[in-house]
């Protein structure tokens, strides 16, 4: 990771044997003996301080990464090897592919994520632009009502949702789950897009309209391309949210169309499958999310900080 080697302001490059009192030292500009030794000890203290912090960060990193190592290590075992905690084999992986339709479930995850994100982006970009730039009577109240829906916990509406989807026969395919995921993601996405569009100047919009574009086309041609970073943030946030979700997929998707996360949770709750295949399955389900995280980390962090209103 390139970030690891990036120099930082605090950790002064420690050239061994460098002359004490070298320029650039922030502390005492002493020239006599005692002052120099005081400077040296301050520098020494700072290095000890940095080393202690570094050591603490390594320990924390081990705690945070251990589960991943554990999954990898124990997926390459048979049940017997797992019980003994010695020896490795491909048994866990072959068992996984025998017990779980991995490829089909990965495909389901992908389809559900892609479709739900498409719906979210459609409603959030248009509404976000409208609430930011094309206000109408009552638009403020409507915006408030939409973002207030962020506070509705899924569990509070899950039973009526189930009844409604059953009534409209939407649980025999992906449709029901996609709609529910889209609705759950839409409020925050709309908030995020509106925040972003507020940063675009009114002059730009009005100039385009003066040039003869309709407001709708101005949105498509001018605002939408400008908002690609915000769109990326919404996409990454929602991908991880939906890919990792259990409850909606578990209740609203037909058994044959289960996502990988749902499939894995059901397999695990059966308490009949050995640990090695479950660890292999965990890795399979985690890897796409990890890849997305590693590539789009900064969008994820931006989404979180935007949520704080920064």
């Amino acid at each position: 990771m390139t970030a690891a080697s990036a120099p930082s302001a605090r950790s002064a490059p420690s050239a061994p044997g460098s002359t004490p009192g070298a320029p650039g030292s922030p502390g005492t500009p002493g020239t006599h003996g005692p002052a120099v030794s005081r400077w040296q000890s301050a520098r020494f203290r700072r290095r000890v301080f940095a080393t202690v912090i570094f050591a603490a960060m390594v320990v924390i990193a081990i705690v945070m990464l251990y589960p991943f190592w554990y999954m990898g290590d124990n997926s390459f075992r048979s049940q017997g090897q797992f019980d003994q905690q010695s020896g490795h084999s491909l048994a866990g992986w072959t068992q996984l592919f025998q017990t779980l339709p991995v490829v089909r479930e990965l495909a389901s995850s992908t389809i559900v994520c892609a479709a739900a994100i498409a719906v979210i982006l459609l409603v959030a970009t248009t509404a976000g632009f409208a609430f930011a730039k094309l206000r109408y009577r009552g638009s403020g109240l409507v915006f408030l009502l939409i973002i207030a829906a962020m506070m509705v916990p899924l569990q509070s509406i899950i039973i009526p949702e189930y009844v409604n989807l059953a009534r409209f026969n939407l649980m025999s395919s992906y449709t029901g789950a996609i709609l529910v995921y889209a609705a759950l993601g839409a409020p925050f996405a709309t908030f995020l897009m509106a925040t972003y569009y507020r940063g675009i100047s009114d002059e730009l919009i009005e100039a385009a309209v003066m040039d003869g574009l309709s407001y709708e086309r101005t949105f498509l041609r001018i605002a939408l391309p400008l908002s690609l970073p915000a769109i990326a943030t919404v996409t990454v946030l929602q991908f991880i949210q939906i890919w990792d979700d259990l409850l909606v997929g578990y209740l609203f998707l037909p058994t044959n169309d289960r996502t990988i996360t749902v499939g894995l949770a059901v397999l695990s709750s059966g308490r009949t499958t050995g640990i090695p295949p479950l660890m292999a399955g965990s890795l399979v389900s985690a890897i796409p999310a990890i890849i997305v995280y590693l590539i789009f980390q900064r969008y994820l962090i931006r989404g979180l900080t935007l949520g704080m209103g920064k």
Partner: protein
């Protein structure tokens, strides 16, 4: 560009253009309104209605009325579940305090801090299902924790967290704290980045120690971020742990790890009591509103434009 010299374009409030703008605004917001109204607001109204009935989902619902709530709060099982939620709140100070310390470490910007930041945030990308499965192995009778204890010569302390009610809840809480580290650390790190370095420098010149600076200067300035992470943490504790409970304990042993959100699922889908399940959901919603009002106030105060 020469455009900058022009007077700013006035946005007319009246006239043909303004009318077109309002119409376009309304049309563009319709899809979001329909989606949210149909799939979030309508069901919450329905849930309130269902909650006052006795209904198994098939036969005709029987109207009970608001007294359904009175009898629910008198139910010892419901009280036990609410107690679990309250106990889960004990995890919140740890879920905030530990990331605060970690963020302070990262904020020292020692070599490699960006790498460590990425590492700490990584579990945020992972499903609760996966986290739960590893946690299950961690706390298991023959699991990682007991192995660790044996390795450091403490083999006499044999833990079996998941075997009894309160320790199982503790195991759940510990897993939850671990999972919140990434999110809360990033929140605090963002907060620390907003601190004015000249203020810190002034405090240092005034002779405050590093610790004094943290407690007297930095911490008060971070209040807003701590508030935000508090809201996020409580909301997660009460409404994001379904998968973790499902995988780790199934709500047990007994009612040991059945929180309100899991109780909704059990009542509604395991026992087929749609009315009661909806009622628990409404109680959860009310709790979330109380917690969430704080967050909304934060967002509004930052917005600056009255809506």
């Amino acid at each position: 560009m020469s455009l900058t010299a022009d007077p700013p374009v006035r946005r007319p409030r009246r006239g043909r253009l303004a009318r077109r703008r309002r119409l376009a605004g309304f049309l563009l917001s319709v899809p979001a309104i329909v989606l949210v109204a149909a799939l979030l607001w309508t069901p919450i109204v329905q849930a309130v209605r269902y909650s006052m009935t006795s209904w198994n989902g098939y036969s005709a619902p029987v109207w009970i009325g608001p007294s359904a709530y009175a009898s629910a709060f008198g139910d010892p099982i419901v009280r036990r579940v609410l107690e679990n939620n309250a106990l889960l709140l004990l995890a919140v100070p740890f879920a905030i305090g530990i990331p605060l310390i970690i963020a302070a470490l990262l904020h020292e910007h020692v070599r490699g801090w960006r790498f460590f930041r990425s590492v700490y945030f990584l579990p945020t990308a992972i499903s609760w299902v996966v986290i739960g499965m590893v946690a299950l192995q961690f706390f298991a009778d023959r699991g990682i924790l007991n192995q660790l204890l044996a390795d450091v010569g403490l083999g006499s302390i044999h833990t079996d967290f998941l075997a009894s009610e309160y320790s199982a809840l503790a195991a759940l809480a510990i897993t939850f704290i671990w999972s919140m580290i990434g999110t809360n650390t990033i929140i605090f790190l963002t907060g620390m980045a907003t601190l004015d370095p000249t203020l810190i420098e002034a405090a240092r010149v005034d002779g405050l120690s590093r610790r004094q600076i943290f407690y007297r200067v930095e911490l008060p300035l971070l209040t807003r971020f701590i508030q935000f992470s508090f809201v996020i943490t409580v909301i997660s504790a009460f409404s994001a742990l379904f998968s973790l409970i499902f995988v780790m304990t199934g709500g047990g042993p007994g009612l040991g790890t059945t929180t309100l959100e899991f109780f909704v699922y059990q009542a509604g889908f395991a026992q087929g009591q749609f009315g009661t399940g909806a009622l628990y959901g409404v109680i959860l919603f009310v709790i979330m509103i109380i917690v969430g009002i704080g967050q909304l106030r934060l967002i509004r105060s930052e917005d600056g434009e009255g809506w």
